[in-house]
Structures are given as C-alpha cells and as structure tokens.
C-alpha cells in the first residue's frame, strides 16, 4: 500500500522537516504487522513528494496466536486484500512513522507546522464502502478537491462489475497535521473495518484526532458509527462527547426519540407481535411455544403477560438464542422467572418431544424460511406430534409486495425467504393442513389493508379439533 504526500510550498523540501524524514534517504520501520518504508520519489524545491510504503505481512498475521487481532477481520480468509489497501493498518503506520507530524509538532520548523500549505495526497488503493458518493461527502466538507478512479473487479469478466476500490487523489491547502488526522480517521471509516479490537479507548483516539473538525462535519454520525465499528453504546457516548452533552442525557434523548418514533409510526412487526400475543391470550393458553423465536421480541411480550405460565422459545440458530438470552436479561432473572422461560435450540424439520404438552404455539414469519419440500416434516412435527391446542402462524402476503417502494419487482422481502405466498396459496395450504391434522383454521390480515392486495402479513389461527366431541 502506497501513500504519497506532495506539496508545492516553497521550498517544497521542507516537507522533510515536517515529516521528520530526510528526503535523500530511504528509511524503514518495523511494525507489529509488517514494515513501513519512507522515501521521496521527488525532492525538488518546487515540488516534493514523500511516500509511505506499507508492507503488511499477510502470512505473519495469520500465524499469530489467536486473539491478537480482532476475530472478524478477514483473517479467516487467507487470500486477503489487507496487504494492498489503505486501512486501519495504514492509520497505525501513520501514527507510528509520522507521529510528530500527526500531532503538529516540528522541532526545526515549528512555524511551518502551523502554516497552511498546498498539499496533495494520493492513495493507491482505498476501499470505499459506500462508494464515491460517501468518499466525497467525507472529504469535500473538509475543503478537499477529490479525484477518484474506480477499479473493475476483473477486466476479463466485466459482468462481475466494479470493485469497491478507488485510486484517490485529494488536494487542499491546510496544515500537514490536519491532513494526517483526516486520513488517520477517515481511511478506516471508508474501509468500514478495523484490524484490532474496538473498545472505550477508541473513543479517546477518535476525539483526540478529530476534535477540531468532526464537531461540525455533516457526516459526523456515520463517521463516528463506522469508526467505532457500529457499536451502539460507544457511538452514543462519542456523539454525546462531541456535542458536549453528558452521556446519561444522551441516553435519555435517544430513548425519547425512540419512543417518539414508536408513537408516530408503529411498525408492522410491532402490530404483528401485539396481534399474536392477543390471540394467544384470547385462546386461554397458559403454556406457550414461540417456534423460531429469533432474538426474542415476541418472548418479551409474552413474558409481560401473567396468563402465560410457561414460555418456551425455540430457534435453530444458537447465535440468535444467545442474543435472545441477553436481551431478555435471562441471567438476571430470579429462579422462579427462569422456570417460566425456557430457551433451547431446535429445528422445525424434526419432531421434538420437548414441544409436547403446550396449549399454544406461535410460528411467526418462520415457514417462509423453510424449503417447500420440508414443510411436510414441519407440518407433522407441529400438528401431529406436538399438537398444541392453538397454533398462530404468520407469513408475508406476496400480493402486498407491490406496495413496498424499495422492493424490486419479483424479489422476496428477505434474502433467506424460500417462498412467499399469495392469500390463496397460504389459505389453501393452511386449510389442507387443518383437514389432515384435525384442526380448524381462521385467517386474519395483519397491518394496513390495501385494495386488491390485502394486508402485508397474513395470519392463520389453527384450533385443534376435540376428539371426544367428534366421536359423539
């Protein structure tokens, strides 16, 4: 990865003083993850260009014992772009190699460090998640002229499309230290990735290097969010500090905003969950199953209703269950509450003894994630073996999709949906199931109904037939 900084300030070679690196020599520095070299391709009085060449030792990175670098960094993929692109590695290298310049110090030319000089930066490869648009929105408000050349993924296969890499030239007149802090912060922001663990210390780093320019930056929020790897708590704190509020207050503000939003527009999901909870309440269920509970949104609602004596959340994703456990504060529940709530991993394609003996089951936005040929196993597992008295089941109504502006025609609402049904399709399936397993079924729309296309979500409520009633 190559970063060059040029100036036309006269005498341009003073850049050597500012960077504290001699223009006539090549200097190399050992770093934790590789090596950095500084040299000058051009060192004339009219124009001087300094180059920082970073070698990230990809093989070495991989061979490091576990845990020294953040885990979700592309280490798992051994073929990695990290050695070639501007990223948090380059930020760290700048801080290491140009530490005095970054902090605006210069022993030999202190006044020059305080002087705004014409500067031009070239980044050989800068990954931009968010494309050129974001690149410009980040740098232009800071007074840069931005030039960007986007690279194709593979010229031999043009249909693969564009890569997220740009060769970027930035031009401005400012203090060198300012320029370096901009790069230091914004390169990883554009890359939207960090090679190290991001914690509270990262807020300090952010504020230290951006105090004078981030406060008024129009993209402040996304810069902070991306820099802190989308961690909500950190983002909130950092924004509060930037806006000179205290974090407590900020928390409350955010919550208030959230509440406001809820009052203004109750989301479809909210309506769905409320409806389902109500149906389960109305049918008199005491022991209920939430099959495909995900991160536990419905569970939270069910827990709030004292009618439900036993609540089971099952999901196939162990990860989702862990999140549910956290969100429901499972570890902090009393013994008694813990007995009431039970979470376990399970799959709707298998029959499961643990699901027997409940009188209500919710299967909310789940079946569309099953391959059609596997519905048969789901039907038997739930309606024949677990056979709760009431089953509440919801699924998208594909007819309504035309009402979603952001949804491309012919696409499903979620990438993982294996099918979405029209009202007719859903109802004929549900009626078939009811008939086969001796249930009765009624249908309800959920969400605003539109002419011709119905409601966004469709719900079926199955009630088990009473064997004795049938025989007499």
């Amino acid at each position: 990865m190559l970063l060059t900084i040029s100036t036309a300030y006269s005498p341009a070679t003073d850049l050597g003083y500012l960077l504290h690196k001699h223009p006539a020599r090549i200097q190399s520095f050992g770093l934790a993850f590789g090596q950095a070299h500084v040299f000058y391709p051009e060192a004339r009085t009219e124009k001087c260009t300094a180059a920082l060449l970073l070698d990230v030792d990809a093989v070495g990175l991989i061979r490091r014992p576990h845990g020294q670098f953040a885990e979700n960094f592309a280490l798992a993929q051994y073929v990695s772009d990290r050695p070639y692109v501007a990223s948090s590695f380059l930020s760290v290298a700048i801080a290491r190699v140009f530490s005095s310049a970054l902090s605006g110090k210069c022993k030999e030319r202190p006044e020059l460090a305080e002087t705004e000089i014409p500067l031009k930066v070239k980044l050989s490869i800068l990954p931009c998640r968010g494309g050129e648009k974001l690149l410009r929105r980040l740098f232009e408000p800071l007074g840069y002229t931005v030039e960007a050349e986007r690279h194709a993924l593979d010229t031999r296969f043009p249909d693969w499309g564009e890569s997220r890499y740009f060769t970027v030239t930035l031009e401005t007149t400012c203090r060198l230290s300012e320029l370096l802090t901009h790069l230091y912060i914004l390169m990883p922001v554009l890359d939207d990735e960090k090679h190290y663990w991001v914690g509270d210390a990262e807020i300090e780093k952010l504020l230290k290097h951006s105090n004078d320019w981030l406060a008024d930056h129009p993209e402040q929020e996304s810069i902070v969010r991306r820099y802190l790897k989308h961690q909500r708590r950190l983002t909130r704190q950092a924004l509060a500090q930037l806006r000179e509020e205290d974090a407590q207050e900020a928390d409350e503000t955010v919550q208030a905003q959230e509440e406001e939003q809820v009052e203004k527009w109750i989301g479809l999901n909210e309506i769905r969950l409320a409806t389902v909870t109500e149906v389960l309440k109305q049918c008199g269920a005491r022991r209920v199953l939430d099959l495909g509970c995900g991160e536990g949104k419905l569970l939270r609602k069910l827990l709030a209703e004292k009618q439900f004596e036993k609540i089971v959340g099952m999901d196939v994703s162990h990860h989702a269950l862990r999140i549910a456990q956290e969100r429901l504060n499972y570890d902090r529940l009393t013994e008694k509450q813990k007995q009431r709530l039970c979470l376990f991993q399970g799959s709707l394609s298998y029959r499961d003894k643990r699901l027997v003996g409940y009188d209500g089951a919710a299967v909310i936005e789940v079946i569309e994630h099953l391959d059609l040929p596997r519905l048969a196993a789901f039907e038997r597992g739930l309606f024949e073996f677990a056979c709760p008295r009431t089953v509440v089941l919801t699924t998208p109504n594909i007819e309504y999709n035309v009402k979603f502006e952001n949804l491309q025609a012919g696409r499903f609402r979620h990438k993982d949906h294996r099918f979405e049904w029209t009202r007719d399709e859903f109802q004929s399936w549900a009626v078939g199931v009811a008939k086969r397993f001796d249930y009765t079924v009624v249908f309800h729309p959920i969400g605003p109904e539109a002419e011709d296309v119905g409601s966004p979500t469709q719900m079926a409520v199955f009630t088990r037939g009473d064997r004795e009633a049938r025989t007499t």
Partner: protein, 854 residues
C-alpha cells in the same frame, strides 16, 4: 443347594451384617455386577460405615442399579435388605425394567454374625444392631414370596449351606440369541391351512403325509420356521394348522410365539367363561369332535409358548404384536401383555377397535422386530420393524419374511374366510410405501441432538461433540436439501505431507511415500478438477425417486454440494443436468448392468465459478485488483525514487517479484472461471460410482470405478460428462513414480489444480487402522488461491512449510467412515434416522476447527 439365576435379573442378598453376603458375592459374581451399600456410603462420605450417609448412599446405589437394569445387566444388591421398606424400592425398580427378582437369604445365627463383626476393625457397632437385623430378617422370611420373590427364593441357614451352594445362570426363555437362522418368519395364520402348506412349499419345505395321517414338514436346507402366533380362530382348518405347527415345533423345525387368539382359546379350552367372539366360536366348533386328550395337548402347547424371542445375538426379535426396544429379552406380565396385544391408548375408533399406540414409529432399537397381529395390505418397513400379518383369513395373503435375506414371500388367500370389522388399510390412502423409510419419514431431534457416538464398520465409534451438532443442526435445517436425499456426504481430504523441494509446498513424492509406508504398493492418481464437489443421485424415473427416497416432488434425482446444499438454485438447470446423466446411463444400460433403478455418483462439477461466484466477487477478484494496482503504483514510485539516486533496489526487487506473483495468482483463479449460460457450459466429472439399489461399490478398486465411469462419459451424447485422467503407480518402482510425477508437472503447469492419490483399493486397513482413502497433491500455481498470491516468495514459503496434518487426517478418516456407513445403511434399507445420523455427523465434523488451507 443350587441357586438358579435367570439372566438378566436383579438379585437381592438379604442378611444381617456379618452374615457373609459380600464374601458370597465376591465368590459368585463379577465385581462390577455387585452394588454394595457400604461402597456407596464410602463414595458419598469417604467412610463406609457412616450411617448418616445411608440415604445418599442408597440414592447412588439405586441410580447405578437403574442404569444397569436399563442396559440389561445382572445386578446384585449387597446390602442387609432385612427390612421390607429397604426391599420395596428395589423390587419396584425391577418391575420398572421388567426384571425378574431373586432373593438369596443369609439366615445365619445372630451370634455368628456378631463374632465375625468383632474381628473386623471397621465394624464396631453394638451387638444389638446385629440382633435387631436378625429379628427383622426372620420376620421378613414368610412374606418374601409375596413381596415379589415367588420363583427365585433361596434361604441358606448355615455356613455349610453357603460353602456348598452352587450358582447356575440360565438365560431367560425369551433369549435364544445363539440361534442365528436362517429363518422363515410366517405371519398370522388363523386356520388357513391350505395357504400355509402352499407357503411352506414355496419356501422350499418338504411336506409329506405319514401313513398315520400326520403331516411332516422337513425344512429346506438348514432353515427354520418361526410363527408369529394367532394360529386359530376365524379360519376353516384350525385343527390342521395346530397339528402341523405342533409337529414342527416338536421336531425343532419351528419356533412359535403365542398370539392373543391362541391365549384366549386356551382359556376357553380350560373351561373359563370366555366370550366366543372374533372367530373363537369357529375354533371351538372345529375342535369339538377332537379327543379330550388332543385338546389338552393343544392347551398345553399354546399355554407354554414364550411371549417373544430374541434371536441371532439380538439382531432379530419376533413377537406377535411387536416389542418395544426396552422390553426385548425381558420377562414380566407387562412384556407378555405387550407381546400379545401391543399397546393401546385405551380409546376405541369408529369401528369399535382399540386405537393402537404406534410403537414402531418411535422404535430406535438395534434389533429387527418382526410381528403380526394387525392386518395390513402390504408389509412395510418402519424403523427396522415389519408387520407381516397380511390378513390371509380376510382374503388377503399369507406372508413370510426370509431372514436374514429380508425377502418377502407370500401366497394369496384362496377366499375370504371371514369378513373384517374394518377394511384393511388401503394403500392409496396411506403414505407412499417407501422401502427404507415407510412411516419414519420424519426425523426426531433426539436422533441428532447433543453429543453423539456413531458406530461405524470401518473406524469404530465416531464421537460428535455437542458444539458441533449445534452448528450442524442449523446448517442442515436451514440450508441442506431434504434429508431423504442426503444419503452420503464426501469426506474432507488431506494434502500430502509438505515437501522440501524449493519453491513447492506439495509434491507427489510425499503422497507415494505415505502409501508405501502404509504397506500399499499400488496407488492410482486421478486428475483433480478445480470445480465443486457434488453428489449426484439420478433415478430411472420420478416414481423411483418417490418410492425409494420417499420424496414428494416430481424429480428425477438431485445434485448437492459437499455440505448438503442443493447445487443449483435454478431447478431447470438441475433437471436438464439430471436428464443428461440419465441419458448417458440409458445408453450404457447401467440400469440392467447393476440391476438398479437409481445410481449415486461422486463427482466434480465445473466451472468453479458456478458455485464460487460470490467468493470470487467478494474475495478473489478484489484481492487481485487491489494487489495489481497497489503494487504497480508502488513499483512506479520506487522506480522514480531510484532515478533520484536513492538506493531502493532491495525493496524494488521484492516488489517486482510480488507483482509477478500477483499476475500468476490472477491467472490461476481466472482459469477456473467461465461464463455459464446453460447446462451446455457445465462439465461433470464423475469419479466414484458410490451406490445402486442394494449395493455399494467400496469393494471395487479405483481402476474399476474409473473404467466404469469413463465408459459412461465416453458414450454420452452430451458434452456434460467428462472423463477424468488417471494412471496407476507402483510406489515401489522409481520409473513408475517418475512418470506419474511428470504427468503431475504437466497438469499443474497448464494451470490444473493437481492430482489426487488413492490406494488402488477403495478401503485399506493398515497396521494402525484405516489408511487415508486419498491424499491431494496440488499444483504450485493453484495454491496461490489457497495460501495467498505471494505465498511462493521465499520468506513466506519457509514459514508456511510448518503445517500440521494430523487433525485434518484424523478428520478425513472419521468423515470417510461415516460416509461409507451412511451409504451402506441406506442400501441395507435401514431407517432414515440411521442414515441421517451418519450424514449429520459428517456435517457436524465439518465444523471442527481445522486449518482451511489444508
């Protein structure tokens, strides 16, 4: 005195402290068979005599006892057991597990016990304790029979008794595990004598009538008949049937178990007041003119029949109405009930018949259960159980199951002798009759959840850790194809050991050396295609798919990846691909050659870009582009610097090398990509013929596989099928090896991925167990897309050489063993859950952390 111990049984030693129980137990039982209360006291309190620990100790004792009883082991309780309260929970435990109970009483003089205790340093309790225990024992003696020790109660009153007593173990009547067959198991007869005779003849039995009118049956070569009961009632020739069967049993030509009708007849014959319904009246009227002596014989014969039999080392169980796994080989009233009547919910259906609990649907036992009792139109395998009562007396047919061949033989009823209360279940309304899967078309989560131990033929027990089954459950539920199709997953493959040849990580020499060291002299190399591994199952017609695999949709087969995912999102591509494979099979007529109507192939599908599109876009192409630009800019900049007279030559040289490596890398991945518009752009290279109906081909060597499959490829009219290059190598011969190495060099220089080296035989057991079924040897250029573009730079290569293969190899063996096991189970028509556990196991093992570059 001789003490007879039925096996299995629960034996209570009863006697005061010091009466000699432990000494006796040591002498006559294995240490592991004896559970001593003293020992359990020690376990929980570190002090065998600590009486305050008694409750905890007994809890432990009963817990262990329960485990042993569940496992069917002889268990001896060495405790005083002198109080009825102490014996009661143990007797209850025995009941729960359908165990017989044996009481061995040590009714020794209290004085003697006391003397013995005094010389033992750890028994310092007061004399009144032993006295009290002796009194309690004596009070117990009379009631012991009623407590549950009716048949096995032994009382010893002197040390001489104890000294001279002999202990004899005898298997329960139901255990005839050393009888291995072959058998012909025959369904409910109900007086259908003519059909029975015809069936026996059909089975090859010789039937002759003696001058005295007796019918004598001579079984065919070494075989034996087993009758599942219900000889009588409803049908026309009850007497003849009974004569024949009794005769066969007498000569050892047959084994019989009783049916509910037979038992009812006994009661009627013995003058009990029995309602002559369900065909009993017919039996009684037919028997009317027989002599009293004969009737007594019949009653005795039927009455003495044992509830069920466990045969052939537990592999076969025969009972009239079936037998749950936990009741097999046990003796109790409940077991007999179950054998005669099965299990009912207590409710009745619209026809007034009891609603049965479907025990077979839940059956997970190891033994095959053959039964009758409830007439069905066609026998169907359900979880290793089969009901062979095909309702002969109702106008159906009389059926026999040949064991171990699992062949069904039947003869039709000559007429309807008795009108059924309700029609036989109509096939059309039933689920499709699938050979393996029958009713068990739904898997139970308990078949895959938690830590699993799967026993395999090739590689002992394979353990799957819980953390891996958690991952696999999600993968298989969310992404895999219908488990009914998943009869095999290919194992992972280890590379050769790392070579020391400069510039290379892998070289065929190491592969040859590996097999030579394992004692394999002939290996085969096969070209390794850079595509995606795929398992292809193709059926002769969609009906076969439905019947054999139990799938509901109208497909000809399936293509799935090595992680069990459907290969093509686009169903039309899959359909066309399967059609072409089928056309090729039609052409060489492998349907007849292998007498099958489905074939399972192990293949590589090219190009790689079909399946790896996402990976190429997200990973490979970006790295290529960024590297090319970044290194180019760096080199330009360094060159300018060099022109200034600054010495950057060492860095510049390095960068030029790196840029070259990157160019090679881009070339490497580009080779495996081409545009795919239709099936015409695909290549499918089959290299293993895995299985067909009733057969796997792991006993054939790889030459056979390659030849059989290249014949298939060469005769195909479409361009899809692609024969793989291969060659046989003698690893003890240098010339032979050199030639193979030359081919590897050629292939990899052209950008080929490399070769796979396999022992010529599919499965090789070496001195230290299973040998790797294959090792891969990848080319230098190909490895760039695994180890990164610049892996060939000396500073990188040296570091990469240290790589550990042992985990990968152990994983490869475990997965291989499971894959073979899965297919073998499938072709043996084992239940879906048995096949699924192996495939699930492979997927679970795949989530074990192993260096993905290997």
């Amino acid at each position: 005195m001789i003490i007879k111990i039925p096996e299995p049984s629960l034996i209570l030693l009863i006697g005061p402290s010091g009466s000699g129980k432990s000494t006796f137990a040591r002498k006559h039982f294995k240490p592991t068979e004896v559970l001593s209360s003293d020992f359990c006291r020690g376990l929980v309190s570190d002090d065998e005599t600590d009486q305050t620990a008694t409750n905890d100790a007994f809890e432990v004792l009963r817990f262990i006892a329960a485990k042993r009883l569940a496992a069917g082991k002889v268990t001896v309780i060495d405790a005083t057991n002198v109080q009825v309260e102490a014996r009661k929970p143990l007797v209850a435990l025995a009941r729960e597990y359908h165990y017989l109970t044996v009481a061995i009483v040590f009714n020794m003089p209290a004085k003697l016990c006391q003397e013995r205790n005094e010389v033992r340093p750890d028994r310092n309790f007061k004399s009144h304790v032993v006295r009290q225990q002796s009194q309690q024992l004596r009070r117990s003696l009379r009631g012991l029979k009623r407590e549950g020790f009716r048949n096995f109660l032994y009382v010893m009153s002197t040390p001489e008794d104890v000294e001279t007593v002999q202990v004899e173990r005898q298997p329960l009547w139901v255990n005839r595990t050393d009888e291995q067959g072959p058998f012909d198991i025959i369904g409910d007869i109900h007086g259908c004598f003519d059909e029975l005779v015809e069936l026996l003849e059909e089975l090859g039995y010789e039937i002759s009538t003696q001058p005295n009118g007796e019918t004598v049956v001579q079984p065919s070569q070494g075989r034996k008949a087993i009758f599942v009961g219900d000889f009588v009632d409803r049908g026309p020739k009850v007497t003849e049937v009974l004569r024949l069967v009794m005769g066969m049993q007498k000569t050892g030509a047959a084994i019989c178990v009783p049916g509910n009708h037979d038992v009812k007849l006994v009661r009627a014959l013995r003058g009990k007041n029995v309602n002559p319904t369900h065909g009993l009246a017919e039996s009684l009227s037919q028997l009317e003119q027989e002599s009293t002596e004969f009737k007594t014989q019949i009653a005795e014969f039927l009455n003495d029949l044992v509830s069920h039999y466990v045969l052939d080392n537990g592999k076969l169980v025969v009972a009239h109405a079936g037998m749950r796994a936990e009741l097999q080989g046990r003796a109790s009233g409940r077991v007999r009930e179950f054998a005669l009547y099965g299990e009912t919910t207590g409710e009745t259906d619209d026809f007034g018949l009891p609603i049965r609990v479907d025990w077979a649907d839940e059956y997970r036992g190891p033994g095959m259960v053959v039964y009758g009792h409830t007439p069905v139109a066609e026998p169907k395998w359900v979880n290793r159980t089969i009901n062979i009562d095909t309702g002969c007396v109702f106008g159906g047919k009389l059926t026999a199951l040949r064991y171990p061949e699992k062949e069904l033989v039947s003869v039709p009823a000559r007429q309807t002798y008795y009108e059924p209360t309700k029609p036989l279940p109509d096939e059309v309304n039933e689920l499709p009759s699938v050979k393996t899967q029958g009713y068990d078309d739904i898997l139970d989560i308990d078949d895959v959840r938690g830590r699993r131990v799967i026993s395999t033929r090739l590689h002992h027990n394979v353990t799957i850790r819980e953390e891996n089954t958690i991952t696999a459950l999600e993968v298989i539920s969310r992404f895999a194809v219908d488990p009914k199709w998943l009869i095999y997953l290919p194992p992972t493959m280890s590379p050769t050991e790392t070579t020391n040849i400069p510039g290379l990580l892998e070289h065929p020499t190491e592969g040859f050396t590996y097999y030579r060291k394992q004692g394999v002299s002939n290996v085969i190399w096969e070209e390794k295609h850079m595509g995606s591994r795929t398992v292809v199952i193709v059926c002769r017609d969609p009906e076969t798919a439905k019947r054999r695999f139990g799938v509901a949709d109208d497909t000809l087969g399936i293509c799935y990846t090595r992680t069990g995912r459907r290969f093509f999102d686009d169903a039309t591509v899959e359909t066309e691909l399967l059609r072409q494979v089928k056309a090729a099979i039609d052409k060489v007529n492998y349907w007849e050659v292998f007498s099958t109507d489905w074939i399972c192939l192990d293949c590589e599908l090219m190009p790689w870009s079909v399946k790896a599109q996402e990976l190429l876009r997200q990973q490979y192409a970006p790295v290529g582009t960024s590297a090319r630009v970044a290194l180019g800019e760096a080199i330009a900049s360094l060159e300018t610097t060099a022109e200034q007279g600054v010495d950057v030559s060492h860095i510049l040289d390095d960068y030029r090398q790196r840029a070259e490596a990157v160019t090679e890398y881009v070339k490497a991945y580009q080779q495996y990509c081409w545009q795919v518009q239709s099936v015409a752009d695909l290549k499918l290279a089959p290299f293993h013929l895995l299985a067909t109906e009733g057969a796997v081909y792991f006993d054939k060597n790889h030459l056979w596989h390659m030849e059989t499959l290249s014949k298939l490829c060469q005769n195909s009219e479409d361009t899809l099928l692609f024969a793989t290059h291969y060659g046989v190598v003698d690893v003890t011969d240098d010339t032979s090896q050199t030639e193979a190495i030359r081919r590897w060099e050629e292939l990899t220089e052209d950008g080929g991925e490399g070769i796979v080296i396999k022992p010529l035989d599919f499965i090789v057991q070496g001195k230290r167990g299973l040998v790797q079924p294959a090792v891969k040897c990848r080319g230098r250029e190909y490895l760039r897309i695994i180890y990164g573009p610049e892996y060939t730079l000396p500073q990188n290569l040296e570091r990469l050489r240290s790589r550990g293969l042992s985990h990968k190899r152990s994983l490869a063996l475990r997965e291989f063993a499971l894959g073979v096991e899965a297919l073998e189970r499938f072709v043996r028509c084992e239940p879906l859950s048995h096949v699924h556990e192996c495939v699930f196991g492979i997927l679970a093992l795949e989530s074990e952390a192993v260096d993905p570059r290997l």
